[in-house]
Symmetry: C2
Subunit: 114 residues, 2 copies
DNA sequence: TGCTTATATAAGTACATTATTATATAATGA
DNA sequence: TCATTATATAATAATGTACTTATATAAGCA
């Protein structure tokens, strides 16, 4: 695949956004499967507004998209983003987060948001 | 080349550092050739302490190294860094900065730091 | 409709980051 | 040795970021 060149502004914004551990982990998680807000709140053990604010930044930058399913809003990678190729390369360097999804499953909280 | 996996901390620190336009541009410049502080001050049209502080952060993270040549200190990419493969991929997405080095040359300021 | 659950937004606060100004260090050369 | 040039460091001010708490919105259900 040939290299897609974006502007310095777009690239530095993307790197700044993923330079935060929470957001980097969110992108790695979403690379595996879409997640709703309450799943992420559980995984990061932080407040719901904190997660919502991280998601908003990622969405504003076009890196993720949302999809409401009844009362839940699921977030997923926006693979149409001009930054997606770069993001994909980045997160391939990040250690696996499968254990986080596994813990969620064990607790019976995966995909369901009871 | 196989993928080198670093810790979440190391990766997010690297992305945070390169999430700044000045530092991202510095890394792209150094990927072409080593530069001394006064060349970078000229290129970025900012204060010398501002550049020194950016260089220090990059050096503290192990991304660049310094090499004194008489009164000048030249900075270059530390290709021994555990992050080098990641950094190399990142900066391959960044638009060329050749024009910046060319301008410097035209002004007679390249490599010499009169 | 009113209650509950999921999520977003707003306001405020604490902390981090980046630049500036002033000063220190280090090398060179008269 | 003294003056000059290159660079680093310290202190400070301005700005940005990420959290918290409180509140608003929106969907589902009794």
């Amino acid at each position: 695949m040939t290299q897609r060149i974006n502007s310095m502004e777009d690239i530095s914004l993307t790197l700044k956004l993923l330079g935060d551990k929470t957001r980097l982990t969110i992108m790695k998680l979403l690379d595996k499967q879409e997640c709703c807000v309450c799943e992420l709140v559980e995984i990061f053990k932080t407040s719901q507004p904190a997660i919502s604010q991280h998601l908003r930044k990622l969405k504003d930058a076009g890196l993720i998209k949302e999809n409401r399913k009844s009362q839940w809003i699921f977030y997923s990678i926006n693979t149409d983003s001009r930054q997606w190729q770069l993001v994909q390369e980045l997160i391939s360097h990040v250690p696996s987060v499968d254990h986080l999804l596994e813990e969620l499953k064990v607790k019976g909280l995966r995909m369901t948001c009871n």
